[in-house]
Assembly symmetry: C2
Homo-oligomer: 469 residues x 2
């Protein structure tokens, strides 16, 4: 007799349990083509269930054609099959093994959090956002709750265009804007429409790792190009690059803005080569100077794909960003957005559109600008006063972090600091090869203004203790 | 005298306007290396502004190194440059031109909406969702509002695993689950991790277009494999495919569930070839039979990447889906998720986790199951009664649409119906080559139960009118 038993605790009904166990027996090789099954009456008696339950299971199996209910009694009909085919494991393509895991996050909130790229969660207008979401959830047209334009909510695109004109001097209309799930997705879409495997891509060295890794994950070859006091050294960009990824307003990680001369060189280079400059303007709504930090996109539209983000001024985990692309790329980018994730969630887009349109975003930007400006000032003052002998500030005029250069490898200090509850990054984390420049990055997005001086004092103590050892 | 004028309506300050106009003159070739600029006093007099304004602009330009403030008066220093380098336009790689634009949506809500894949927006528990979002927005730990685990919110992954065990008999734990922005992103990530350009990918023919197009957009070669009454014809899958994309529980578009025999063949094939089966279980939480529609993933874990979605039971524009991948692929998939968009928005994930954990989702599933089941019954009855002479129902037991086969090309009827306010798809939209099978798809997600009979009556009238012409 076939080994079938019923488990009365199982959420599966008796007919389903019978079906499942016969299926398992076939897969394990215990039942083969032509094998006899017990009759409905026999199996029902054996399992102590109604004949109807066995009949239902046999009926399904017969309908699927793997049990034949003929006169001599039911028989398995699955064709002759290898019971255990030689297995070859499924594996990803090789390049993924070379790419690092997503970065580690602190388990709990660090006592002093000087990491870059992290805004203050407590500055986020939670109550306003809750209200906007509720309003849009109730009021949205049915259609956009079902499937949205892959390029984004029309109102939001209009508002982003107006915002960019106002704040970044970028001339754009709604048609120019594509809404993305944050800036990394914008850069990814650009890479998807521009790059073939084997293509070379210029990235800044030192530079922001995720785009570089993403280019490599597409089989392209990122080439690190040196950054000097005027920005990326255009003369050293390989001529065959189809894409150059840069952060001109607030170079990541150094902070240096790109000089006008360098910008003109870069634009001329891109025109000559038919290349695209991906300009990541990731945190330049926060400027701390009167001097214009004009985006490349404000100077030339045809070869610059401008990428912006609401991660720094609002919150990263809203995952809301955008791009303004050269017209020739837009149809392909809309297709790429549709084919990679269909579109960005609707309600959140509509809420952000209202926040921008109603002036709430501009007010919020003023608030965070004031707060981060105050932190920045304290940070720069304390660094000059207490670390002036070992660290040199890199001049910068925007963003959420400052960078200092050092004579020695800072990685041991960073590690010791982390153990003591101070999280910050080393400049060497962002160079190629790793650790080929020395310095530290001090983010002021996550650290309250009052914690800056105590945090730096503690860091100095750790530094001095290490020096004595 | 250099042509500079101030616009008092402009939001830019006078120094910024001066800076911008000199920059524009350099870019246009009107100012070249070595050209003299007016002195601060001269330009201030000419523009009728304070000398400080001109001084500030010249100061910025001097700091950037493109104006030299020497004794003989200020001079441009930009190096010798081509004023108008020969332009080569930026262009996407060729394959994008061959891919279709994202599908057109009706401008307004159609009078009778029989499109597939569209759930009823009015069944969405708006009030509950609003409450869940508000609750999570206020209560979420700071950390996950800043950067979330790229694999998804831990609570949500736990709840999805429990849900899959309960509803789809898929044995999974939180570690097995990766949260995605809908199912298309899940399939995209699978492709990114498994495919090289030139690789062949098996897709069902007829089949769901977006994954097929997405594979092509990565430079892979999708191969349509025939679907018969038992599902995809495994014997016709090319041996060199590394990935097979299938919809076994409710084949899209036909609806036919894959037979057990065919499932066993497909699993054996994948093991032999080291290939991965991407199983899109897009709407199979809605089953209308007692018969088990076991996912492939419930039968074998090592070669099946299971993809699920909340688009059909909740709303597409939440963009929430998930995958349960073979263990060997998980590290690469987490990297791919991080590098393509960092992560799925946090608050919405936490809200969905609560909805699942609190039993609200199970209740909601029962509600929509009842409603859609009623619509399905009416639809099938009316089709049999009023279209039995021209259309033949394809047997199916799950999902949000039914498919009928026809003897003749249905595209003219679909077009005429659309003009009359009835939206539905033709089976020929999903075949390769297009229109190589005839039939219609009737979605019942968007059409109220009372509108089904009038909608079909109107469709029959259009059909008969066309027949007479």
């Amino acid at each position: 007799m076939l080994e079938i038993s019923l488990d009365h605790e199982d959420s599966l009904s008796p007919p389903r349990q019978i079906y499942r166990q016969i299926r398992l027996a076939i897969m394990a090789g215990g039942l083969c083509d032509g094998d006899a099954l017990p009759s409905v009456a026999e199996l029902a008696r054996h399992l102590d269930v109604a004949e109807g339950a066995v009949g239902a299971a046999y009926g399904w199996m017969s309908a699927e054609g793997f049990v034949e209910l003929h006169q001599g009694g039911p028989r398995i009909r699955v064709g002759v099959r290898e019971t255990r085919p030689p297995g070859r494991p499924a594996a990803p393509i090789e390049l993924w093994a070379d790419l690092p895991k997503p970065p580690a996050r602190p388990g709990a909130a660090p006592e002093y959090d000087f990491r870059t790229g992290i805004p203050d969660r407590h500055l986020f207008p939670t109550e306003t956002w809750r209200h906007l979401l509720a309003e849009q959830l109730a009021a949205m047209p049915s259609q956009s709750l079902v499937y949205e334009d892959p390029r984004g909510n029309a109102d939001l695109r209009t508002e982003i265009a107006a915002h960019l004109r106002r704040v970044r001097d970028v001339r754009a209309t709604a048609a120019d804007v594509l809404v993305t799930n944050g800036s990394q997705q914008a850069v990814h879409l650009a890479a998807r429409v521009l790059l073939r495997p084997g293509d070379r891509v210029a990235v800044e060295n030192p530079g922001y790792p995720p785009p570089r890794q993403m280019f490599a994950s597409l089989g392209a070859e990122p080439v690190g190009v040196r950054v000097d006091a005027e920005g990326v050294v255009v003369a050293e960009i390989p001529d065959d690059c189809r894409l150059v990824y840069v952060t001109p307003s607030h170079q990541f990680p150094l902070g240096t803005p790109m000089s006008l001369r360098r910008k003109l060189d870069l634009l001329a280079w891109a025109r000559r080569r038919g290349a695209v400059i991906v300009e990541d303007d990731y945190d330049s709504e926060l400027t701390f100077t009167d001097r214009p930090l004009e985006p490349l996109r404000a100077m030339a539209a045809d070869h610059v794909l401008y990428v912006g983000s609401f991660s720094k001024v609002l919150l990263p985990m809203l995952r809301l960003g955008h791009m303004v692309a050269p017209a020739a790329l837009r149809p392909a980018l809309a297709k790429a957005k549709y084919l990679t994730d269909v579109g960005t969630p609707s309600v959140e887009q509509a809420a952000l559109a209202r926040f921008l349109a109603g002036g709430g975003f501009a007010d919020h930007l003023r608030t965070v600008h004031g707060e981060y400006g105050a932190r920045r000032e304290v940070l720069i003052d304390v660094l000059a006063r207490d670390f002036g002998d070992v660290l040199t500030l890199v001049p910068a005029e925007a963003g959420l972090h400052v960078t200092v250069r050092a004579e020695r490898d800072m990685w041991p200090l960073v590690l010791a600091a982390r153990r003591a509850g101070i999280w910050l990054y080393s400049l060497g984390d962002f160079t190629d090869p790793p650790n080929s420049a020395h310095g530290l990055l001090f983010g002021y997005g996550a650290v309250p203004v009052d914690a800056i001086e105590p945090g730096l004092r503690k860091l100095r103590e750790i530094h001095d203790r290490k020096g004595r050892k």
